[in-house]
Symmetry: C2
């Protein structure tokens, strides 16, 4: 089996059933102002309303729920400074599986505290292990600890169960559209791309349910590794990209996600930080929702396409995944005033 | 018939049926963090997701839809610098009734522009009439223009059809709770109070459907006229109160709303601007929603009660009406950084 084929719509359907009652069925929002601006029907899947404020809880929960009894008793480990850390911590607590989270010592205090807060409900031995970003890499440290303690590693994106979990976002969106209007589908779907887990899973789900649906991945301009990788079909990397979209600062796609994005996405595009702030402002002012910079990538991609290729979009049914809403309010205020 | 009895649950039920498909059925949000903080079940009615971003669209639409054919052809007039202006403008456009809106010349440009934008879709002759706040009062000017042009005045709150429309907020909330769980009700309901239209309508609806439900009105500390009026059963006023809750700077309750608040509310309380900012921050950080200062009054009231009288609240089922989300993002950013 090829890497690109290692997650199927059957896996995503299985994940959606498994996650029933575990993850929130997030709302699909519409905005007349947005639809007037782009000249199309737009369905916004609001994963900022997901538990822990991000779609990451889907993949983390699915991966933990797929473990066997022996693996569960050993416990899991992940390395992340972002939403995946909180997702694994809460999923560990909810599923009664010990969780170890490797985080850099200079991670924002609010994220360290939130992760520790969720872990407080997880069975022992659960802990946050902080490391010095200058002295080691998170992968090296994570692998050493996992080996020593016999833990199962659940990486942030490059794992079939994580990808299948993230794919439930698009599957759920398409099911919600059909529930509202039998036979309804999507002509295109915008999804943000960091490590590519969400984009891979959503592309597989969208292509299975709506084969004609064009799936578009959106990256920050400064972290365009996936866009270059997709264009050249060779894995490109970026190093410490300077973008406000902290969830998409990942240096490269994974082995699975590179293969899946190449096989299942139709197009990759980038947007600048100014466009992200514009999309965040639009979401706040017109839709009354709080979106983190990474969470605004897909909306910013749609708004850019609406300006640059309006005739292509007009009259379509378009899905947009808002991936998360975890933004420090002081940082947000500074972005709004800039 | 007494003034306090001039709106009944029958009127509010009629309004809810009339508004079906016209106003959004806004979501009822829950937050585990909020429930953990207050030790109770909390159901947040999110009217910031209402059309024009505020509950005001309910009362404005109901009042316009109740007009007879002759009144419709004459057109309506209102005076407001806030959400009611936009509500009447959009309701006029939607119901094909000419609308004249009297606004102060120093109203925020964004509100003047938004009101003119909605009016662009209303039948002629519709217009915004600006006036000099120093030279005349909005009531005097509004009444003169209405008399000269034969327009029907729809005031911002002191009108039975407006009050019945606003009451659909609480009726809809209670119906949504029952739909989720047969027999479910509320032990208490927090509602903001400016002119008292929302509080009056919601109190009447809540008392009719859940007689044991305690209805609590929440005002800004600096604009505590309704709290004093409620305590003394005499109408008190405030002049140019200094509060960030611009929608609750109304100087006094109206004739109808004074009688109704006295008859149907159980308690009035006040919260300071700091508490409003705290509630706005909580809504943004934990619930991912944007709330205007006035819209955060009810939530701030609950959070204050949770600190000051926790034993009274513990284990209850509590409703909170978030009344609107129209806040200038620059103003919001400044509040977050203060």
């Amino acid at each position: 089996m090829s890497l690109a084929g290692s997650v199927t719509i059957g896996d995503i359907r299985g994940a959606l059933a498994r996650l029933d009652g575990v993850v929130h069925r997030t709302p699909v929002l519409t905005s007349r102002r947005l639809e007037a601006m782009v000249g199309a029907r737009v369905f916004v899947k609001a994963e900022n309303f997901q538990r822990i404020g991000s779609f990451k809880y889907r993949g983390a929960s699915n991966a933990i729920m797929r473990l066997g009894p022996e693996e569960r008793s050993r416990g899991v480990l992940t390395y992340s400074s972002g939403n995946h850390a909180q997702a694994i911590a809460l999923a560990g607590a909810t599923q009664r599986v010990p969780a170890t989270i490797v985080m850099p010592s200079d991670a924002p205090r609010v994220k360290l505290d939130a992760t520790r807060g969720y872990l407080a409900g997880a069975p022992a031995p659960s802990e946050v292990v902080v490391y010095d970003r200058m002295a080691t890499t998170r992968e090296a440290l994570g692998e050493r600890i996992a080996r020593e303690r016999g833990l199962v590693i659940i990486p942030p994106y490059d794992h079939p169960d994580v990808i299948a979990g993230q794919g439930t976002c698009a599957l759920e969106l398409l099911e919600q559209l059909v529930a509202d209007e039998p036979g309804a589908g999507l002509d295109r779907l915008y999804v943000c791309c960091g490590g590519g887990g969400l984009l891979s899973g959503c592309a597989i789900a969208a292509k299975a349910l709506a084969p004609g649906c064009e799936v578009i991945g959106v990256e920050p301009e400064a972290a365009d590794d996936a866009t270059r990788s997709f264009a050249s079909r060779t894995l490109h990397t970026v190093e410490n990209p300077g973008t406000i979209a902290d969830g998409a600062r990942t240096p490269f796609l994974g082995r699975y996600t590179f293969a899946m994005v190449c096989a299942h996405a139709d197009r990759m595009m980038t947007v600048g930080d100014d466009a992200l702030v514009g999309a965040m402002r639009f979401a706040m002012a017109s839709m009354k929702i709080v979106v983190e910079p990474t969470g605004a990538l897909a909306l910013a991609g749609l708004l850019r396409d609406a300006m640059e290729r309006p005739e292509e979009i007009r009259g379509q049914r378009i899905g947009v995944i808002i991936s998360g809403g975890n933004v420090d309010l002081t940082d947000l205020a500074r972005l709004l005033l800039d």
